[in-house]
Amino acid sequence: MRSLGEQRTLADRIQRILGLSALAGMVATVWLGLFVTPPDQFMGDLVRLIYIHPPLAWVAFIAYGMNFLASLAYLWPRTRDLRWDQLAGSSAEVGVLFTGLTLVTGSIWGRPAWGTWWTWDPLLTTTALLFVLYLGYLALRRVPDDPELRARRSAIAALIAFLDVPIVYFAVLWWKSLHQAPTVLNPTTHKTYIHGSMAWTLLLGFIAFTITYAWMVMIRYRLGALEARVLETRITSALRERQLEGSHE
């Protein structure tokens, strides 16, 4: 019992450190992004979106990668453990949230910069499809069932979804480029215009959002573990009540 208690305080401490660094990173990003860095020569204040939009997309990418790796770890017989399933689920939830935010911030950027809320650009289309793919995955996870069964089912669904991403990307890439002059938005061309304080702010944004991701996944993971334990306790106490009822008769 004692070791369990110690473990919990250690996890608590890590969570608090992560949370505080995430908060500090966010505050610094906001301060640098809104007040310190200069507005862009052509885009004005609009450029400030670049400090959050790419980091959001980056976190979504890490989240799905983590989901895929954790699902593989669950499917691999030697490392099969329900904790991997819990991690996969937590990561996917945060991933869907960040994909949604990526789409929203992208739209807010696109309206003044390109004159439209939405364009059928390969990156945008893939991101939108990614959002729906993992929304389905989360819906599947919500279906109540035996934990082992649900874990195996979810892990295979995660595999199906993740392997679809490159195929989708190439499909939409060719879909646009075969019949239309290539107007592909190249993210690297943006970076060449970034100097000094802007580059540092962007880098800080990446770090701050990554820490925030780790913090959110950790909270979600521990919450999931607590939920599982509550369920277990309820089942045992219900069983005990039944047994007592039986012995009275």
């Binding site: 389905g136 819906a139 599947l140 199906i160 679809d164 989708v168 190439f170």
Partner: protein, 222 residues
Amino acid sequence: MVRDALHIARKDLRIEWRTRITAFQVIPFAVVVIVLFGFALGPDPARLENAAPGVFWLAVLLASVLGVERSIAIELREGAFDGLRLAGFDPAGIFLGKLVALSAQLVALEVLLGVITAIVFQVSLASFWLLAVASVVATLGIVAVGLLYGVLLASSRVRETLLPLLFFPVIAPVLIAGSKTWQAAISQHVSAGLGWLELLAVFGVVYCSIGIVSFGPLMEDL
């Protein structure tokens, strides 16, 4: 594995032959979808010709959900899956057998639907072999994904509502590639269609492989 697959495929096709669910329910449904799209798009011939490939593949995808649903449902009644397992069938064989049977039914649907689309939407189907190969390859990919999700959801009570949400985003590339191949065939740019055919083939190979490997573990849950 191959022998098991042939047994299962023959069984599924015999069930279809006796019940005629695909012939009398799924195919008419696909035709209705085509006609409704005609209403939605209006009678302008140029617009219809442009939209024809996409409409055709959307109708096929919508019908394929019904096909998958049916293919899983016949195994769930009266413990048929348990029976197959007890009889010692290889899970990969069961997957391949069901894949072949359902694909054959869908290809039959596509032939009929293709002719109807060509007539109603006033397009001429040139480059026949490209259309035929692309349709068969695309169908195998669609059915592989469908069966995977079908058996994944077989034991849950929300199968009917969850299957389309999981199924359609994954097969979005097939819709794109299938439509593009058909467009290439109609406008007789065969070389443009070949690239798309490759994409369809990659999709089919990836999901057939996942199906062969994971059907065993998935069937344990039923």
